[in-house]
């Protein structure tokens, strides 16, 4: 081994050890567990695909998995669509000397704990919450609306709010990197402001949009705090089931199987996005 290689190895070894102990090992354990079965109080260590068979046939797992994917997808779309105009505004309309301030303001929600923000949404969306009492006192509704708490809608609203800054920042960075003379060139070549946006600005901002999409999609699929607190029975997601399997039903192998399947789903979808990113990043 050369000195350079040795030095490089020395430099990365703390990280490697960390990754091996805290990521690779638990991951391997989860994958191994998923091929075992729970036999009342003991674990049957014969390798089997029974858990996977059950995960694919039992409708509850399929429902939860599909619901997780749907909620994550909706949250991602809502967040990215709402974040883009804000990022565009800060990048294109705000005076350069004020941009840092705007970005700073956008990150303010992060100063509060995630849990607190979820609880705050309960206060806003609840039966006697801010929204309902506000609408009631304005006479716009006769009785409190209930479709906004303890269901999937509440999960979407809460998650979209929680992840908004994460999506604004990568899109903003991508927009900032666009050479403004490209936009002038497009107008010089006959395109209006609107067609310039679709032919130049948006394609060049795509890497940021895709990064934002992944940043929201990957963690929301595995989120279990928000559905637990505001989701009610119909807003529960796959992560809640994984938690239940591990802690309440004492069925670690089944929990592990569901975790592996959730990871596979996320990986598959992420790969599609990475592929698109490659295309745009040529």
């Amino acid at each position: 081994m050369t000195t350079d290689a040795r030095r490089g190895l020395a430099l990365i070894s703390p990280t490697v050890v960390y990754v091996l102990l805290l990521l690779a090992a638990p991951l391997a354990a989860v994958v191994t567990f998923s091929f075992w079965t729970q036999d009342f109080l003991t674990i049957d260590r014969t390798l089997t695909l029974n858990n996977y068979r059950e995960a694919f046939t039992d409708p509850i797992y399929r429902t939860l998995m599909l619901r997780s994917l749907t909620i994550s997808g909706v949250v991602t779309v809502v967040t990215v669509v709402l974040a883009f105009p804000i990022a565009y505004f800060v990048s294109f309309q705000v005076h350069p000397s004020r941009k840092a301030l705007w970005i700073f303001l956008i990150t303010i929600p992060f100063w509060t704990s995630y849990l607190l923000r979820v609880f705050l949404w309960k206060v806003i969306l609840g039966f006697n919450g801010v929204l309902n009492s506000g609408l009631l006192s304005l006479g716009l509704i006769d009785e409190p609306i209930t479709f906004i708490l303890y269901n999937a809608n509440a999960v979407v609203i809460t998650l979209a709010h929680a992840f908004a800054p994460f999506t604004i920042l990568p899109i903003y960075v991508a927009l900032e990197k666009i050479d403004r003379s490209l936009i002038e060139a497009s107008q010089d070549l006959g395109e209006s402001k609107v067609t310039t946006f679709f032919r130049v600005t948006l394609p060049l901002a795509m890497p940021g949009v895709i990064a934002a999409t992944l940043i929201v999609f990957i963690p929301t699929i595995g989120d279990y705090v928000t559905p637990r607190l505001v989701g009610g029975p119909n807003g529960l997601m796959i992560a809640n089931m994984i938690q239940t399997q591990f802690l309440k039903l004492n069925n670690a192998p089944m929990g592990a199987t569901l975790a592996v399947l959730a990871m596979c789903a996320v990986t598959a979808i992420s790969l599609v996005f990475v592929f698109f990113n490659r295309r745009y990043l040529r």
């Binding site: 050479d179 003379s181 490209l182 002038e184 060139a185 497009s186 107008q187 010089d188 070549l189 006959g190 395109e191 209006s192 032919r199 130049v200 394609p203 060049l204 745009y280 040529r282």
Partner: protein
């Protein structure tokens, strides 16, 4: 007929007065340059013509039509940007064909037009290349093809050669000139490089601090700069203190420091000037180091000492202190085998050409 008519253009950015009462006519098919130091407003003026900047007051006529309120995408001008502004997400062919979307061409016609444009700028066969895989010179050619394919009435070039190395720049200067003659479109070039402007242009507008100081063909600009500042900016100019001693029949007599008395005829005097600066200008080539017997020379001869010299191979530039002059003058001499390069400290005879004297209006 003038294709562009700028009438009393004023442009303010807050307190900053970027363009001051700019008026100018640019003829159809002309290669016109806006020349000036950075910050003189030349790029602002180009952007006003392109439609990227509004004017504070004044009128821009393009092909006889008032351009007030007409956005950039509706003007019959196209621009080659200083950064070239090649779309990084598109191929070379897609870049060149970018502006053709509105022309509603068949795919085959479109491909033909693109190939023709690429061929014109010497990039035949580059269509499928990715934009980021191009060199600086190639990017510029793509930018040119992309603008020329739309057959604009006026092509605007914003310092297009400043990012290229010297060899490439010289090559592109000739090529741009050739291209302009070939397509016959009016070119307006913004540059801070006076040599580039002299080489390429039919006419040059010299700008300082938002004002046009002089508009003239290259030769007139070089030989007859209107102001001292223009003379200083274009090429090398020696300035000698001069005292006006007599005026008669439109001829002015000066007593020039280090050169003696000289008469300047009416055709050499700045037009319409009532008074003249107490200084005259002489180009380095208006002086000649006298190698042969001075008696053979009919021109006027003075004496001086070589203070310094710069040897360029084909030319030598001497700094010569003329007897009785307060500052040294620059003299350029073509290097011939019969003319040995003088050393520092050599005393020499210098002849000068009275007809090359430049007088400036006060």
């Amino acid at each position: 007929m003038s294709i562009i008519s700028l009438q009393n253009i004023e442009k303010h950015y807050g307190d900053y007065h970027a363009l001051k009462d700019v008026s100018c006519e640019i003829a159809e098919g002309e290669f016109f340059s806006l020349l000036g130091p950075s910050g003189c407003g030349k790029t602002t003026l180009l952007r006003v013509i392109a439609g990227f900047e509004d004017v504070s007051s004044g009128t821009v006529l393009l092909g006889g039509q008032n351009m007030a309120g007409v956005p950039a995408n509706k003007r019959p001008t196209n621009m080659v940007f200083q950064s070239y502004a090649i779309f990084p997400h598109l191929s070379v062919a897609q870049n060149v064909g970018f502006g053709l979307r509105k022309a509603k061409l068949q795919p085959a016609q479109m491909a033909d037009a693109i190939n023709e444009a690429l061929e014109m700028v010497g990039l035949a066969g580059f269509g499928e290349r990715a934009a980021h895989a191009l060199s600086g010179g190639q990017r510029q050619r793509v930018a040119l093809a992309r603008a020329l394919i739309l057959k604009p009435k006026v092509l605007l070039l914003d310092e297009p050669l400043s990012a290229l190395d010297k060899k490439m720049r010289e090559q592109m200067q000739t090529e741009l000139r050739r291209l302009q003659r070939q397509v016959g479109i009016t070119f307006i070039l913004v540059t801070h490089d006076q040599e580039e402007a002299l080489i390429m242009s039919d006419r040059i507008a010299v700008m300082f601090e938002g004002e046009i100081a002089q508009v003239a063909p290259p030769q007139d600009l070089y030989r007859r700069p209107l102001t001292r500042r223009v003379g200083e900016f274009i090429g090398v100019m020696n300035f000698l203190n001069a005292r006006q001693i007599d005026v008669s029949d439109g001829t002015v007599a000066f007593d020039i420091e280090g050169l003696g008395e000289a008469k300047v005829g009416p055709d050499q005097l700045p037009e319409g000037a009532r008074a003249y600066l107490p200084v005259v200008g002489l180009r380095p080539e208006a002086f000649t180091i006298v190698y042969e017997d001075p008696k053979l020379r009919s021109q006027r001869i003075v004496e001086g000492e070589v203070l310094d010299l710069s040897y360029y191979g084909d030319m030598t530039y001497y700094e010569v202190k003329l007897d009785g002059a307060s500052a040294p003058v620059t003299i350029s001499m073509k290097n011939l085998t019969t003319r040995p390069v003088l050393e520092r400290g050599t005393r020499t005879l210098v002849s000068w050409d009275e007809g090359s004297l430049v007088v400036f209006a006060a």
